[in-house]
Symmetry: D2
Subunit: 193 residues, 4 copies
């Protein structure tokens, strides 16, 4: 039964911003981890996902909850460069550490995005104190529900991760960006697949 | 140590709406209880508090979380009558049970409001599965924080209530209504005091 | 051609609030007049219509634009009494004059509401400087469009009212209240009809 | 008296997007012109200015009102390139023509921005049917007021531009970006000055 909540794979990062040193998920064992995967030109990330991640970062004590942004670019690669991301983070006052997801050499989907089976941006991933994936949500999720899940994970004594979660309903099979999210298209050159 | 989180006093109710039978807090032992005290002419209750209570009611399974509205009128008594409340609940599509807080015969503050030491409306009170008061918040509280507290209470095995809560900061000493809340004035005829 | 924009009928008022003396539309000739018909328990009026009317009142010079609220109760008469309205206006900080639409003795629809052929609340009516009806809109209307129409009426030299208006699309035939508006039902006892 | 409202200088454009051919202000004589100057990484432009410009574009008939975006980059030049802008416009569904403000060879402020004496982004500029500048506003401006000014300009018979405008209050002397706007700093290398 230990496989019900798999341990998250490590982040694959080509560059870190907003932090002086690299961060690994292994370093964060013992804390709840909030991973927010975004693209700087994804409207739903800018209007909803990143403000929510920032609010989580402000609301919960750092000793309990770590917030990490992951810039997982799967489209418009020439527009969303690290230098553009740096300006974006500065102008939007994003304070928490942000990892640039390592680009694939053979396709559009960067490595961390693929390793976590993300379907697009924004994606919210929650890890428990033992590093197990307890939520992997594509698209908008309201604060009440996000808060409830984090509150539950925070209160766990880092022992039993097999408690019940709020069920994820699969999102509609959209492709491209709308106001809420940017979905990976089916034929977007996951050349390795 | 058992007094750290006192057991909530019973509701004092002159009339119930949105339910066929009376409800006591004792009936709800084993579930987390959300009490939302409001006035139908309190702007902050209408714009924020009641929609939040309704969202809690929709988000959490009824087996885990019970939501109860309390109409605690401490001003404009001739305007906020039960018949007016009934029309209000109908037009605003409030579905959860609502108690009319029993009016005082000697002052403006109704009995449940006084028993819980509420400072005005909206007030959000959270009880754990054992009926102990774990949060008593006057004014606006954001969804992320409310969700986190409920999520924590839901995950408790109905055993140990003495865990840490997010700290309440005392609100400013306003009197009367602004967009966010209606505060009881100091000289508002709590004749029994 | 003078009938293209009919002159508005006079208001029929049983009581005025927020003003020391009665107001007639005839008194307001030479100014653009904004009539906002609402019910205090109409959710769309509270969340959108009244804040918009208040913003108009603050934005435009009183010498150019007069804003008048009309409390046109066609349902829940026992809840939306003048005493309740007075408390409501106080708590919601409504500053502009409000007329209580004169109740019908034979049906549910008050007299001004019927004289203007209103279909429910909120209704926004704009009169030009000559007292002619230039807009009669049931339901929500965005600020950009409302501003444009008022701006045009303000700039008219009180001479030629026959200029083009933005077209009104008929709203859907709903009955009862939703978040946006409260519609008069077809059989709501317009006994005089 | 003809100098009260000066005729706008021509746009200085290095590249057009969302249009097959170049546009000049001279081409637009006879129509009201809305110029919205923005930067793609200016938070206030993304959250407020561009949605407002898009709403103007949708609300008013093209025969009366032309909407033009101007990408006036005065900071983070390496991040806000034309290729990045193109991706941005695509993802945010901006449909109206957008000009890339011609960069200065000697400083940070592009030529159109300097010619119009803009103080930062977003800036909203309104021209009357004769091409005269009737509003030049830095920062947020609410829809009611913008609508009123456009409505007035639309109703003018393209004859007398010297009517009264709503007064502009000078904005606070901020430098850099906040949620609302990005202000040009005083020492930002206007080398030509």
């Amino acid at each position: 039964m230990t496989n019900i909540h798999p341990v998250a794979p490590e982040l694959q990062v080509s560059q870190w911003l907003n932090t002086l040193r690299s961060i690994t998920l292994a370093d964060l064992r013992g804390r709840v981890v909030v991973l927010h995967a975004f693209q700087m030109l994804c409207p739903g990330c800018v209007s909803h996902g990143l403000p929510q991640a920032a609010a989580i970062h402000e609301t919960f004590p750092a000793a309990d909850v770590a917030v990490i942004g992951i810039h997982s670019v799967f489209e418009h690669h020439s527009a969303m460069t690290p230098v553009a991301l740096e300006a974006f983070l500065y102008e939007y006052h994003i304070r928490f550490p942000v990892a640039v997801d390592r680009p694939s050499t053979t396709g559009n989907i960067p490595h961390t995005m693929e390793a976590f089976n993300m379907r697009g941006t924004p994606t919210l991933i929650l890890l428990d104190r033992q590093g197990r994936i307890r939520l992997n949500h594509f698209g908008r999720m309201d604060d009440l529900r996000v808060g409830a899940t984090i509150g539950q994970l925070v209160s766990e004594a880092a022992i039993d991760p097999n408690s019940n979660q709020y069920q994820e309903q699969p999102a509609a099979g959209r492709v491209g960006c709308d106001n809420e999210e940017c979905a990976i298209s089916d034929n977007m050159g996951q050349a390795s697949a």
